[in-house]
Symmetry: C2
Subunit: 221 residues, 2 copies
Amino acid sequence: MTGNGRRVTVLISGTGRSLENLIALRDAGELNCDFARVVSSRAGVRGLTVAEEAGIPTTVVARKEHFGTQVFSEALTAVVMADRPDWIVMAGFLSLWLLPESLLGKVINIHPSLLPLFGGKGFYGHHVHEAVIASGMRISGCTVHFVDTRYDKGPIIHQRCCPVFPADTPDDLASRVFGEECRALPEALRWCLDGEVALGEGRVLYSDRLLRPSGQAEDEG
Amino acid sequence: MTGNGRRVTVLISGTGRSLENLIALRDAGELNCDFARVVSSRAGVRGLTVAEEAGIPTTVVARKEHFGTQVFSEALTAVVMADRPDWIVMAGFLSLWLLPESLLGKVINIHPSLLPLFGGKGFYGHHVHEAVIASGMRISGCTVHFVDTRYDKGPIIHQRCCPVFPADTPDDLASRVFGEECRALPEALRWCLDGEVALGEGRVLYSDRLLRPSGQAEDEG
C-alpha cells in the first residue's frame, strides 16, 4: 500500500493504540494514505515502537523539555510542518498545541467522550470515564473534531455512542468506548482524505453525500 | 390483557404519542400493567382522546387554571394519589410538579435528549432539537430518569442514542429521537414494574441482571 499520496502525521503521547488501528486499516487497504511521521510528546512510549515497527519516521518533542505551551508549540509546529503533511491526526495526544493559523482545518483530534461533555483540561484517559460513571449517564461515546487552540473545543466532525452499564469500572467503559474510537477515527479521517469534510467559518462543512446519509450510515452513527 | 395488577398513571400535556406507544405495547402483551388514569396539564389535547379511546379514565389539571407551581402541584398530587398508582410516568408532561416526598422513586420522566445536555427550563419539544443541531453534536438520544422536584434533574435510569445528520431539521431529529423514546420508555417502565430498578440515596439501584447486561442488552443500550 502506498496510498493515494495523501500524507498523514500522527501525534501521540502514549501507547499508540489508535495509531496501531490506523496502521492496520491502512495495511488492510481500508485507509488510503501514507504516514509521514509519528510525533510523540513523551519519550520512550510504546507508540513510538509501534511506529518504528511499521517503518514510519518518528520524532519526540517532549513536552516536559520545553518551557511553557508557546515554546513547546513552536517546536512541535516546526517538526510537523517540515514534512508538509496533508492531515494531522491527534490520536491520544495529551498536550495543548497552539497550532498556527495555516494548520486550522488540517488537524483532527479524537476524544473519548461525547463532547461537549467530559472534555477540556484534566479530562483525559481514565479521568473521563470516571466522570461519566459518576454522572450516572447510561450512554457515552467518542468525538472526532477539528482542533483549534483550546482543549477539546473545536467543531465536531463525527461522534459514535455506546452504552454505559451500571456496574462498569472505568476500564470496562474505556474498552467499550475505545471500540467506538477504532471506528470513528478512521471514518472521520477517510472523510478528510476524500475531501468530504472541511472546516468552514468555525463549523464543519459536509459533502452532499454526508449531509444526510442513507440507511447504511444510520449504522455508522 | 389485565396486567399483573401494577397500576400506572400517565401524565401528559399534548399529543400523547408516547402514551399511544405504551398502550399499544400493553395491548400486545409486551408491557404488563394497567393504566389507572391519564392526567393532562392541558385541556382539549389529543392525548386525552387517545386515553378515552383506550378506555382509560382521564382528568385535566390545567396548569393555567392554577396560580403558581405550588397550587398546581397540590391539585395534581390530589388527583394522582386518589388512584394509589404503583408508578407514575411523565410522557410529554411539560409542567413542573412539586411532588410529595412519598412519591419520590415512583415517578419517571422521559426527556428527548441525552441529559444532562439540553435539559432544564425551556428545553422541551423542538427547542431541544434546535439546540442539539446548533451545538454541532453528531449524537443525540433520550433519557428516562426518576423525577425529583427540579426540571430534568433526577437520577438517570436509562438512555438510548441515535445519530444527528448534518442536514437534519429539528423535525427530522425529533422523529429519530422519538423512535428511541418508543423503546427507552417501555424498557425503563418494565424495569420499574419488575422491581429491577429503584431510587436509592439520590441514585439509581439496579438488579443484578441489569448491572452488567450480556450481549442482548448491548443492543438495548
